[in-house]
Amino acid sequence: MGNKKKWLETTYKQASERPARFSTVSDMELDPLYTPDDVAGSYDDALGNPGEFPFTRGVYGSMYRGRLWTMRQFAGFGLAEDTNARFHFLLGQGQDGLSTAFDMPTLMGYDADHERALGEIGREGVSVSTVHDMAALFDRIPLDRVTTSMTVNCSASILLAMYLVVAERNGIGWERVGGTIQNDMLKEYIAQKEWICPPRPALRIVTDMIEFCARKVPRWHPVSISGYHIREAGSTAVQELAFTIADGICYVEEAVKRGIGVDEFAPRLSFFWNLHNDFLEEIAKLRAARRMWARIMKGRFGARNPKSMMLRTHAQTAGASLTAQQPINNVVRVAIQALAGVLGGVQSLHTNSMDETLALPTEQAVMVALRTQQVIAEETGVTNTIDPLGGSYAVEALTDRMEREANDYIRRIDQMGGMVKAIERGYPQREIAEAAFHFQRQLEQGIKAVVGVNKYSIPEEIPIATLKIDRAIEERQIQRVRKVKRERNSVAVKQALDRVAEACRSGENLMEPICEAVRRDATVGEVSDIFRAEFGVYKDPGWI
């Protein structure tokens, strides 16, 4: 064996060490060397082969030799037709799935003509208030062949209903529609902070959607359990892992309580991770996540179907890691982060554009980001063999350690009575704020470096071109929503909205009534208002 201890005390001690803190971006200190002494557990228990329990080495038997990951660039801005044009551009460039960014009013359940929407319409995503906007967004896109991801949470039930109504109007049955809706409300209270009502009713709506999709839209992923935003809010990698898996546990518990068999819905749960700068930490995180989920689904929930145990995931490079200074450097960061995702075995990937700290990305910047994935897929050779870093002492030791530390968090959350109680106490929120502040201090003390910001900075920078959203679109979208409201059958809308309110009260699954409401031109804001009236409005406790 390596006899690491002896080596540390002799050979390493005699060699010199730079005055630096050798820790990950999450400030996890690493040993100078990992050896066979650091790797515990048998191959079959800890790793298993790809496509086999506990899926540490990958969820599919042939991984990228069977099929490359889905290259799925997140896009959305302006009016529905602006984003539709970007979708067609991306599909034309060889992208194979769509991913929709909605603007803040849509995400928060306000119509474009609401006063709170002013200044935000179409600015950081596409504005969708009615089913007509949704139809324009997916114009000339075959919804039975292209899978779509929609990043929306508290108003997700309404947007999914609109998508399904657009599909049925195009003659495509719900059973043929495939895609993902983020719909992870727990992480909203923890990190992204888009909400309408308090956590408990929000969780009920999510569970309604899990149930509805399991029965009516079998190719749809009703929740994408997301660590991405937890990490962006400043968490460590272990916190991202722990809180995300704990959120997943909570959704599974709720659906099981509803009486849905775990193997009926769990194969359609998917995940969404962040890919940050620390290369090995990110690869270890993805591998640990797969093993944890497999063990939890089998051991804690008694799943029998291996598909219920497979953590299939989308990933996105870390927006928060990009710099406004010397923005072209971001291309390099994104490439390395994306490579970590591929070596970590993700199923779908979004690479950020270099200009995203400044504005929404230009077409040119998006193309470089997509090409980055294509270079990794076609030129680097990392897709030729599965989980090529498996068996690396460092990667395996880190994988074990992250699983252990994340499990400590999960135990603490279980002791609090589960994730909803933990959120109500502000536990994950405070842990993340603490980690974010710690990183900021390390940055300002020079313990951590960001190239071009606190090291290697230059006084005068040449600005790059950025995307400008025309403010005139705001007025056009407001007029469009008002026109729909003027011309629809207002009695039918009122009746349909009353049905949604009744379902809120009776506990009946909300999805069919919401589908009927949007068919009759009820808007995102109007259905959200029903939620506000029936379930109450959540207010940020504003912990600092």
């Binding site: 803040m104 009013p105 995400l107 928060m108 306000y110 709170r116 929407a117 002013l118 200044g119 935000e120 600015r123 950081e124 909203e188 992204q192 902070k193 888009e194 962006e232 809010a233 400043g234 928060a320 710099t323 406004a324 200074q325 700290t357 400044l358 504005a359 929404l360 704020a433 974010a436 502040f437 900021q440 940055l443 300002e444 910001v453 606190n454 600005p463 950025t466 959203i469 207010k539 940020d540 406790p541 504003g542 600092i544």
Partner: protein, 134 residues
């Protein structure tokens, strides 16, 4: 008698939920010796102006990452003036393009901090540029 401690209202207007920066700044200002009130997320300009007056703030620091800064900053300033509190200094930060920052300063926003600004720099700026209201 020592100076009255400066009271800073850290505010998050609009619908955007990116509060990492606002919370870090709030905490750094508090550690820097100021009294800090954080509004929490999703405030309307009315709520912010009202809170600034109620809390007797010397300055309001506004964080916007949603692109709605050209609507939200001027509106908060207008509402402060309307309440006879136009002397409350307004500063802020977020994802704000340089040319917009110039326009905001012309409208009377005292300072705009953009990504990469250190908390130290912001605390120092507040110390040197914000005076207690009389």
């Amino acid at each position: 008698m020592a100076d009255k401690r400066l009271r800073i209202l850290v505010a998050k207007p609009g619908l955007d939920g990116h509060d990492r920066g606002a919370k870090i700044i709030a905490r750094a200002l508090r550690d820097g010796g100021f009294e800090v009130i954080y509004t929490g997320l999703h405030q309307t300009p009315e709520m912010i102006a009202e809170a600034a007056v109620q809390e007797d703030a010397d300055a309001v620091g506004i964080s916007v990452l949603s692109g709605a800064h050209m609507t939200l900053f001027p509106e908060v300033m207008r509402l402060l003036k309307e309440r006879g509190a136009g002397d409350i200094a307004v500063f802020g930060g977020g994802i704000i393009p340089d040319d917009d920052a110039v326009k905001l300063k012309q409208m009377g926003v005292r300072q705009i901090f953009t990504p990469g600004a250190s908390t130290e720099e912001i605390v120092k700026w507040v110390r040197e540029n914000i005076a207690p209201r009389t």
